[in-house]
Symmetry: C2
């Protein structure tokens, strides 16, 4: 029997997260205070986050120990499986070997619990009573709702209005875990009311929902804020993905020539690739690393690497990242988790250092790849993950054309069980491609402060 699943025992759940900051040839640019435009310190973030997470955000330590209670929760689905996609290889008739690390095995269905669990844990330890957050596609909101249920925290989720209306089942999942879910923009916050007064029918956006969730946390001492991507500590928590994968590829007696992940905020991609980039930097491996983003929202391939706000309401610090402009509203593609104007500063930084590449995929190509994958491998992927699959298939077909052996590894960040409406729309021919709107992006970028 051919091996198709490479599993590690529970004892091989990583003991520590990997912090690539310790190995980077050049440090990241610091975040700036939104008022003073000066670098911020830990105390500036204290209203929003517990100190343990703030210290992780700025840590230069290579390894940061994973607390026992977090590993205990991880043990329910970690180590996550690494699959060899043998049936997909056959369907493509490619000489390439294709592997995927599957994070959809988590109870919430994606990689998001990898950081939701430690965030809930550290908050619980710090005495936080309630967490507020935003969610777009719903993967993050349901993961945090689950983690809060495990640790006995209340959970308040601002869900982007268009998702709130289109994805009642995601909302039901969060409510089943006991969370309170509000459509954003809402009348509960100043940020929300400001948007609604100008755009009463606003569909919302991740940027707006972030503003609302941050505002709630900033105003209530019992409430902290939790973010599902972008920040260093979030990406740090996701490195369990890559750390496990390195061991699993060794079990497979193979080494990836190319590694791909989809990028929205950047956390699932970073989780898989940062441990590999660390090896690349040490000369232990030479894998090409490719971020795959939607053509409709191409921050890495078309954005500017500059300081920008993380949210639309400009309540967050400014961070240096590839951005399409914080006031830019991405087209309504169905990969809601990739509709973000910016990019994790750490991912942008390694892009700027030339350690990774980026490419983009059109919506229709992403769904076509996802359906081909589903018929071969049985898993219906999240629309976000379809971008990584499309990138991997592209590489596999190049290998076929060149008649070359090649080992392709990609991250399958989650399943699409709560995204079936997008599959219905695609199969009914109702979806279209979007090029990114150059003029709108130019306008959004023109409004940014000039900070390099």
């Amino acid at each position: 029997m051919e091996t198709i699943q490479y599993n590690l025992p529970q004892t091989r759940i990583p003991q520590a997260w990997y912090n690539i900051a310790a190995d980077l040839p050049k440090p990241m640019a610091p975040p700036l205070h939104p008022g003073t435009l000066q670098p911020i310190g830990p105390d500036d973030l204290a209203p929003l986050f517990p100190m343990a997470l703030i210290l992780q955000e700025i840590s230069q330590e290579r390894e940061i120990e994973i607390p026992g209670p977090v590993r205990q929760v991880y043990a329910q689905w970690r180590p996550a499986p690494l699959f060899r996609a043998r049936r997909l290889e056959q369907a493509l008739d490619t000489p390439a070997r294709i592997y995927y690390k599957y994070e959809g095995v988590s109870p919430a269905g994606s990689h998001k619990p990898n950081t939701a669990v430690p965030q809930a844990y550290y908050n619980k330890m710090a005495g936080t009573k309630r967490l507020s957050t935003e969610t777009g596609a719903g993967q993050w909101g349901s993961s945090l709702a689950m983690a809060c249920a495990f640790f006995g925290l209340e959970c308040k989720v601002f869900m982007v209005r268009v998702s709130y209306d289109q994805k009642p089942y995601r909302r039901a999942m969060m409510e089943t875990f006991g969370a309170s879910v509000t459509a954003s923009p809402s009348i509960e916050t100043e940020s929300g009311r400001a948007i609604l007064s100008q755009h009463p029918d606003s569909n919302g956006s991740l940027g707006i929902a972030i503003s609302e969730a941050v505002e709630v946390a900033a105003k209530d001492p019992d409430t902290k804020y939790a973010l599902g991507s972008v920040l260093n500590h979030v990406l740090l928590h996701q490195t369990v993905i890559g750390l496990e994968t390195i061991e699993q590829m060794a079990l497979a007696d193979d080494e990836p020539d190319v590694i791909l992940g989809c990028t929205g905020g950047g956390s699932n991609f970073a989780g898989l690739v940062m441990p590999y980039l660390g090896r690349n930097l040490k000369g232990l491996s030479h894998a090409r690393v490719i971020a795959v983003e939607p053509s409709a929202c191409p921050s890495l391939t078309k954005g500017r690497f500059t300081y920008d706000f993380g949210d639309t309401g400009h309540l967050t610090p400014l961070v240096k990242m590839h951005t399409l402009g914080s006031t830019f509203m991405p087209p309504g593609i169905h990969a809601g988790g990739l509709r973000y104007h910016g990019m994790a500063p750490l991912v942008s930084h390694v892009m700027d250092l030339g350690l990774i590449e980026a490419t983009s995929v059109q919506q229709l190509d992403a769904f076509a790849a996802g359906i081909q994958f589903a018929r071969a491998e049985g898993i219906i992927p999240a629309p976000e993950s379809n971008h990584a699959i499309a990138g991997a298939i592209r590489e596999a077909l190049v290998a076929k054309q060149e008649g070359k052996q090649k080992t392709i590894l990609f991250g399958l960040s989650g399943h699409g069980h709560f995204d079936m409406q997008s599959y219905i729309a695609y199969q009914a021919g109702q979806l279209e491609n979007y090029d990114y709107p150059e003029e709108e992006v130019a306008m959004a970028l023109a409004g940014l402060p000039s900070l390099g």
Copy 2:
């Protein structure tokens, strides 16, 4: 770190299914031809099934080898994990140890692929071009659609009208796998037209959909029929569940005192418990085995053990089983997979032999148990599986009351990602309990032939 997941390597996927027929103290009553009312032979079934499956249906061999290509597909998610529900134990404050075998890790999200894959395989080997089947909740239809995609077969699914309308996402899943899905009753078959002429607005039922799928297969030599539960060979394929669990419980150094599963057609229950019943019969174990069924459709606890048809249209053979009458239409509970008038003849037989017990659970208690489970364990269960959870919680609370250690094992047959509408309805207070309608059942039973 406490172990909560007991995993076996891919090499420990069972080599053979376990056929309890070889160990039963008394043989099962034979199925009867619907026309002659005489016992049927293999040839009578040949229009519907490939001979390999017919021979499994009547086999008395204890072990039936699992073909290599089937094990190869199983390897994507098998051995399925056995979990210790430590957080649920804490939430219940019970001295009982609770384990659950989780089949929701299959790509289709339930135990159904365990038999869909071998059924597709044997049909492919026999030259079948197309499989026809029925589906209620959709777990079976999506599993067969996936298996057909893997083996290059066409797949035609008759989906109970009420599910077809209420569960567009289940349908989308089947269509993503390439299946053709028709609402039942349909105008495509005589059985369907007969129902529609009398009840143009019929919601359909599993019994009707079976009639339609059987009719299509009987009339087309390139099409065979596939059933997702009830039949011996289906239950046989599911025994991988229990065979793995026995090994995993040994890893946990524990032995179940009580084993529970939900029962609709009986296949997920049988898959878990038949290998344990085999051990009980040999005196190797002494576990109580309990079938948990919905109070609204209580075939084992309230039905009659007699010969009845498997379908509403009376096209199938008659089998001896616990039945509420093949013309009985179960109330509209949300656990669609448990809305079946009959029971697997093998499950009925071991019930009649006193090898198992049965109990029933009301709809509201099942959902309350499912939500308590979700908040503790993170997994949102299928409404069907909630019945097993409710039964297990009941046992755990008895243990608490009695202050006794006890080891409880239950089957978690699938996740509820495609059943969130039922969770919304429950949490909105829109669901109700149903006692089984005694008069309707009495009428349905009165219409049966008297065959013992």
